[in-house]
Amino acid sequence: MSAPVLTTPAPDAVVPGRPTVGQRLTSFMPVIALVVLLAALTVADPGFLTLSSLTAAVRTSAPLVVLAAGATLVVLCGGIDLSIAALCSLATVFFALWLPDLGGLTTFAIIAATGAIGALQGVAHVLFRIPSFIVTLGGMSIFSAIALVISDAGPVRVVDRDATNWLTLYVGGVVPMAFVVALVLVAAVSLVLRLTPLESWIRATGYSESAARLAGAPVDRVKIAAFTVSGACAGLAAVMLVSRNFSGSPTMADNLLLPAVAAIVVGGTAITGGHGSLWRSLAGALVVTLLRVGLPIVGVPSAYEQILYGAIIVAAVALTLDRSKVLIIK
């Protein structure tokens, strides 16, 4: 009589408190995969498990870790950032062009600039309510275009190598500095999330945006912040790439998009948002890197790499997806 007639006595589906076997398995998935991969590679090539090859693998993984860590924040909020690789490429060009004028400040300028660009995408997403994958897909092609135009579609050489030299050092003679920076980044961001209400807000936004908003969580600001950090991470990854390649190029990081997305989902972060962490993406990035360097070792042509990325992305998303949330999968 009085109330809206929708009233079905809402079925109280009581979710069992204990995680299912599948949930347990997926929560350890990245670590298991890492161990299995290491073991398999060692069996295939006993010479693999040496300090030098591990150091090299870890060093290659650093930019990927940074890219994936940043984008993980956006995924945790329930969105996706497809622009990271293109933004990273653009940032390498910026770095090469700005270095002569800014010198030692270039790194900070790059990170600030890419952070601002990321924020811009976040604002467009939040303000105009455009799905994040469209905003960032558009961003991707805009950043590529800018990079092509300002670099004249070719690599820009970096002459002054002192500015990035610090990233090529080794801590204690073994651990590459770039990887240490990546680790510190993951640890720092995770710590900030854990110690402040941010983690609560991000998870709430990712799990259930409307509930978060109705609980007064600053959903819009959290999302913009996530995009900002994602952009800034793309900038940092760019600096790492330049330190290795001594040049900036408009397509330098383009082939890192798929590995970065793969790293996030292999880590077990749910593409539907809420569930996951930066540490998981770190493990995921290591898995992806090991796959990359390991394939030739076991005698698989590197052409299979792409196929493998495709397969693991789909498989990992299928395993981690929160199906209770989306009734109709588009």
Binding site: G78, G79, I80, A124, H125, V126, F128, R129, I130, P131, S132, F133, I134, V135, L137, G138, G139, M140, S141, I142, S144, A145, I146, L148, V149, A153, E209, S210, R213, L214, L258, V261, V265, I271, G273, P301, A303, Y304, E305, Q306, I307, L308, Y309, G310, A311, I313, V314, V317, A318, L321, R323, V326, L327, I328, I329, K330
Partner: protein, 339 residues
């Protein structure tokens, strides 16, 4: 009332009814064609080179491949899904066709049969996206991203480090020989558009794709199983991408892994600009064709007035974001969930 007898059913033809367009012309339907005319006019005024007959031919020829890709993606977008697999599928089919027709790498000379196999390869890859969507329940933008990677991998495998150059006269001829002033490729694209429009209007597949975008849950309540139709739509889209890969190979005279680079985004741009909603249920092939022409005229016109061709992607990025924003903003609600 009893079931209609077959005799009754055959007695059609009387007045062939067609779905009637919405009454009155809404801005969203009339907007893209008007924009096309306006942009065309502006460039015609700005650039004497733009308003030549040969340039108009160029524009149409340049639009051919994009039109074929957009035909495929339109059906997917109509369902409310998204498809990022075009680059991978086109790459795979481009290499496949280059290796199957007369070429410098092997002794194959299968001609049209080779083209058909390449298209089928595209369809198979598209089917894979669809299956992953309905069986594994993975969102389409992830499955198609994955399938795109798989396609590129398959292409790289077949490429094997040596570029296959096409020596088949038929395939080479498609890009250069002209009929009524337009390249054969362009006519193939026109045929694709016609097929697409017919499928959309007269086939159950097309109508259900449209309905899935409109209200998927209602189809379930009416006893329609949507999963097979979703797979079929992705398969059909894959076939269109496969054909587009063949067309690119014909244009370049060689099979390239990167044959489809950027086409996914351009096609989404064209469809969205043409008035297809990303949430599904609105738009269609003819809308998308207008979008394709718009994008191509814009690209061509900007080059003609002296803008660097490198800006092409950037301009597309801007217009797609603007077009989606324009479509979404009027329906904006507070506490709306945007992913």
């Amino acid at each position: 009332m009893t079931t209609t007898s077959p005799a009754d059913a055959d007695r059609e033809v009387v007045h062939a009814g067609r779905p009637r367009p919405r009454r009155g012309i809404s801005l969203s339907d009339a907007g893209p064609p008007i924009a096309l005319v306006v942009i065309f006019g502006v460039f015609a005024v700005l650039s004497p080179d733009f308003r030549t007959v040969s340039n108009v031919q160029n524009v149409l020829d340049a639009a051919a491949v994009l039109a074929v890709v957009t035909c495929g993606i339109s059906f997917v977008l109509m369902m409310g899904s998204i498809d990022l697999s075009a680059p991978g599928i086109m790459g795979a089919s481009a290499i496949a066709v280059a290796l199957l027709v007369a070429n410098n790498r092997n002794d194959n000379d299968f001609g049209l049969f080779g083209v058909a196999v390449a298209v089928l390869l595209g369809a198979a890859l598209g089917c894979l996206s669809g299956l992953a969507l309905v069986v594994l329940k993975v969102p389409s933008f992830m499955t198609t991203l994955g399938v795109s990677a798989v396609g590129l991998g398959v292409a790289t495998l077949m490429f094997a480090g040596v570029q296959p150059n096409v020596t088949d006269p038929m395939l080479e001829g498609w890009a250069v020989e002209r009929f009524l002033g337009l390249a054969h490729l362009t006519w193939i694209a026109v045929a694709c558009v016609l097929v697409g429009a017919l499928v959309q209007r007269y086939s159950r597949l097309g109508r259900y794709a449209f309905a899935i975008g409109g209200a998927e849950e209602v189809l379930g309540l009416s006893g329609v199983r949507v999963a097979p139709y979703k797979v079929a739509v992705f398969t059909m889209a894959g076939a269109f991408y496969g054909l587009a890969g063949v067309l690119v190979t014909s244009q370049l005279g060689a099979g390239l892994v990167q044959a489809g680079r950027g086409y996914d985004f351009s096609a989404i741009t064209a469809a969205v600009v043409g008035g297809t909603l990303l949430s599904g249920g609105r738009g269609g092939i003819l809308h998308s064709v207008v979008g394709v022409l718009l994008v191509t005229v814009l690209t061509n016109g900007l080059v003609q007035v002296g803008v660097s061709p490198y800006w092409q992607g950037g301009v597309q990025g801007l217009i797609v974001v603007a077009a989606v924003a324009a479509a979404v903003l009027p329906q904006r609600r507070r506490n709306q969930v945007t992913k």
